[in-house]
């Protein structure tokens, strides 16, 4: 407040820039003179505003002429003089005022002219239009009201729905389950018959109305859960037969000498803990019963097949357990666990969960579903008069003139148990192969063994690609192998395309890989010699000399230096490893003996002397050989 500061506002000194020349000089506009700026401001005055106010008072008849005259004059002369528009506007204003004065003077005399109020014409209103307008307005109001009513109704319904209503529950039950009315009771069916099951046990359940006394009973039963009971209690009550009550699951165990290798629990309800609480909602109750039915059907089917199948080692069915021998010493145990009363009992032993094999679980599911699916889905097209059941191939057998062998092949089909045993066998074969490859890769450091498992495989077949190579020399030589892992056998496709079939014994694969490691070393040395310029004299992959090998044969090769004065002999044995010997020619030392008396025999190459490879420098065998060859070449 105390400090008042003078603020002076003035126009910038710079004038507007009119043009900037190419050399950067700015040409300013010269400032307006006083008269020019006055003319500029005068032009900004809007005379038409005031003219509008004056206008209504004039007679409509005579003005347009004047105006058009002045306007036309304006347009012609406006460019001549800056004050022209101002003058014109003032001139027309003066004219109008003069005319008005004249008119008023004449009117005042009342002799020639009388001013009368003009009666305004009343607006004609049509009754129909009015009705329509009213109708429309009313309809709008009605729709607003109706939507309000609708909203109220739905909210009211929801209140009703939250209350337990038997019929409403029944409707919801009907949407998910098959129901029918038999005399006075409502019977439902939870079997898989509509999905193609041919299991004889019926899955009937009865639907009744829950009595009120049940509701009153339940709160004291479980005071802690009293908060949740109003939610759970429904007006509907389902009664499932006693054999379908409770919890069931199928247990798949693979045992080797009483030791669990893996297990899987098959359960329709997923991993959630199954409960047999009698107060659960009907939906859960029915689902549990259906699960029991499913497990029973699966087990029944498997047991039937186990008895019928003619296996070399017969399958055993004892009580609720099926035992089948997968591979010698390894057993597959499929058991049905069904507990009707034990909701207090601890359900599943916890440690077995860790070995849960989801693949096996999934397979069993899939297999039974497939059987169901096949029962209902017949291949198209089939003639309406033709029999149902035969496969599409069988339909075509007649017209395609299939012979008896083909027809015999068509009748063969695999049972569920056979399929699951095959899958288990393959599982073990894969595990064993993995184990063998991993242990060899760990044991053998010199040639590196890498294995790639194909990601795409079937439940009974997979494939692994093995590469044997030496670190640093993988461009020189490598040995690829492909192993197909089947159900009870292995098929190995070797480097040259030779196919080897092996049984389930892991030792066979181990021996094969060791033979290939051995072969890899000797072939790699030869490949290396080629790049080093050494000559390759002899090669034998199955050497008859030396001690007898426990597996395979020793292989050897003989190499000569570029000018032929040094020899290297390599002998590779699967068990003993690699032996390398070196010889000089001509021999460096000559001592005449009784047999070799003259010096000319010295060109016959000297005695081979062993190289102690373990004392040599070098990362691996090939590296050592490279160094050895290099040193022997440079010496000459």
């Amino acid at each position: 407040m105390a400090y008042s500061v003078n603020i002076s506002v003035e126009a910038p000194i710079e004038n507007q820039i009119q043009e900037i020349t190419y050399d950067g000089q700015e040409i300013y506009q010269s400032p307006l003179t006083v008269s020019e700026s006055l003319a500029k401001y005068a032009q900004k005055i809007d005379f038409s505003k005031t003219a509008d106010i004056v206008e209504p008072k004039k007679e409509p008849g005579d003005i347009p002429d004047d105006k058009s005259d002045t306007d036309s004059k304006d347009s012609i002369q406006s460019s001549l003089w800056p004050w022209d528009t101002v003058r014109n506007k003032l001139h027309s204003a003066l004219q109008e005022v003069c005319v008005l004065a004249d008119v008023l003077a004449i009117a005042k005399e009342k002799r020639y002219m009388v001013l009368d109020p003009v009666p305004q014409e009343p607006v004609e209103t049509k009754s129909i239009v009015q009705i329509y307008a009213r109708k429309k307005a009313l309809a709008g109001a009605a729709s607003v009201l109706l939507t309000g009513v609708e909203r109220l109704k739905t909210s009211q319904n929801e209140v009703v729905r939250n209350k337990t209503d038997f019929h409403f529950e029944l409707l919801r039950l009907r949407q998910n389950w098959r129901l029918k009315k038999a005399s006075n009771s409502i019977i439902g069916d939870l079997s898989y018959r509509t999905a193609g099951s041919k299991f004889t046990q019926t899955g009937m359940f009865e639907v009744t109305k829950a009595e009120d006394d049940d509701k009153t009973n339940s709160p004291p039963n479980s005071p802690s859960a009293s908060g949740s009971t109003p939610k759970n209690s429904s007006a509907l009550r389902v009664t499932v037969p006693s054999e379908l009550q409770g919890v069931a699951y199928i247990e798949v165990l693979c045992q080797k000498d009483q030791e669990d290798l893996c297990s899987a629990n098959i359960n329709l309800l997923g991993s959630g803990p199954p409960t047999s609480n009698p107060d659960v909602h009907w939906q859960q109750k029915l689902e549990a019963a259906q699960n029991v039915l499913f497990c029973k059907e699966l087990f029944n089917q498997l047991a039937k097949e186990a008895v019928q199948l003619q296996a070399p080692i017969p399958h055993m069915v004892v009580g609720n357990q099926i035992m089948a021998t997968v591979l010698p010493g390894i057993q597959l145990i499929i058991g049905l666990c069904h507990s009707t009363t034990g909701d207090k009992k601890p359900p599943v032993p916890a440690p077995s969960k860790s070995d849960h094999d989801h693949v096996l679980e999934h397979s069993l599911h899939q297999l039974l579903r497939e059987v169901h699916h096949k029962n209902t889905h017949h291949p198209f097209p089939h003639p309406s008069t033709g029999p149902l059941g035969p496969s599409k191939k069988r339909y075509l057998a007649g017209p395609m003139a299939a012979d008896r062998y083909e027809l015999l092949e068509m009748t063969k089909s695999e049972t569920l148990l056979e399929q699951i045993i095959k899958q288990a066998q393959h599982f073990f074969m894969r595990m064993r192969t993995e184990y063998v490859l991993d242990t060899i890769a760990k044991e053998v450091k010199d040639p590196l063994i890498t294995s790639h498992w194909n990601t795409l495989n079937s439940p009974t077949q997979s494939c692994v690609k093995i590469n044997i190579s030496t670190h640093g020399y993988d461009a020189v030589f490598r040995t690829p192998l492909v192993i197909h892992v089947g159900e009870k056998s292995l098929k190995c496709i070797c480097r040259v395309g030779k196919v080897m079939h092996m049984s389930y014994e892991p030792q066979e694969l181990r021996d094969l890989i060791f033979c290939h490691i051995n072969q890899h070393q000797i072939l790699a040395v030869q490949a290396l010699a080629k790049t080093m310029g050494w000559q390759f004299l002899a090669n034998s992959s199955h050497l008859g000399l030396g001690s007898v090998e426990p597996l395979g044969n020793a292989s050897s090769c003989m190499l000569a230096s570029p000018n032929g004065d040094r020899l290297i002999a390599v002998r590779c044995e699967p068990q003993a490893g690699v032996q390398v010997s070196v010889a000089h020619s001509p021999r460096s030392d000559f001592f005449p003996s009784r047999l070799v008396t003259e010096r000319k025999w010295e060109h016959l190459g000297g005695q081979f002397r062993d190289v102690r490879l373990e004392k040599m420098e070098g990362r691996n065998f090939l590296h050592k050989m490279e160094l050895l060859m290099a040193s022997l070449t440079s010496n000459s």
Partner: protein, 206 residues
């Protein structure tokens, strides 16, 4: 499925069973193993008069293709072969008004079936409406489906078993189809040719 050659074996002055026995002995001596029996039958239907120009339908069954029913329609100018489901027989019954079975013409060839290596040999006794007519020997070489490639082999084998009655040229039906894939209907064609010849012959052909 392979290439099949059908060959008539002269019975000379033996009886039918004696001839079969002779051939059985010969082929068993080569190491063949009997694998059941076989049967090829043929029934002939002719069209009724008001169906236009006369046509003949031969319906044949071969136990080697148990699910199939073969038929050959002979219109006089061309033959139309058809391989169908077993239900075709029932269809023929329904067509009784148009095609009527000829009386006394049911021909069949049946007898033991031997397997020897890749060959399958069938010794058939031919009967036309229960009357013995002759012996048909069927030799099938299973690994091959092109007659031109295995005719020489089959001929050599047949000459070894059947002797000089085997011609050095392929049967006329196959001679025009030597480089095509052999199908079961070709076997049926050969049987039909032989059956037609047997039917025309008055008694036993020698």
């Amino acid at each position: 499925m392979g290439v099949t050659i059908l060959q008539q074996f002269p019975i000379e002055n033996r009886t039918g069973p004696a001839t079969i026995e002779l051939l059985t002995k010969r082929i068993s001596a080569l190491g063949a193993v009997q694998q059941g029996h076989f049967l090829v039958d043929c029934e002939t239907y002719s069209s009724v008069a008001n169906l236009g120009p006369p046509r003949t339908v031969h319906v044949l069954h071969n136990s080697e293709q148990p699910a199939s029913c073969f038929s050959i329609l002979d219109t006089g100018t061309k033959t139309i072969p058809l391989a169908a489901d077993g239900l075709f027989d029932l269809l023929m019954l329904k067509m009784n008004y148009f095609y009527q079975a000829k009386k006394q013409t049911k021909a069949e060839s049946k007898g033991p079936r031997f397997e020897i290596g890749d060959f399958c040999v069938k010794l058939g006794t031919v009967t036309v409406s229960q009357n013995f007519k002759g012996i048909l020997v069927e030799v099938e070489y299973r690994p091959c489906v092109v007659p031109g490639m295995c005719w020489e082999l089959i001929r050599e084998f047949m000459q070894g078993v059947l002797g000089s009655s085997v011609q050095s040229n392929p049967p006329p039906y196959l001679a025009t189809r030597m480089q095509e894939n052999y199908t079961p209907i070709d076997t049926i064609h050969q049987y039909l040719e032989h059956f037609t010849m047997f039917r025309k012959s008055p008694g036993m052909r020698t």
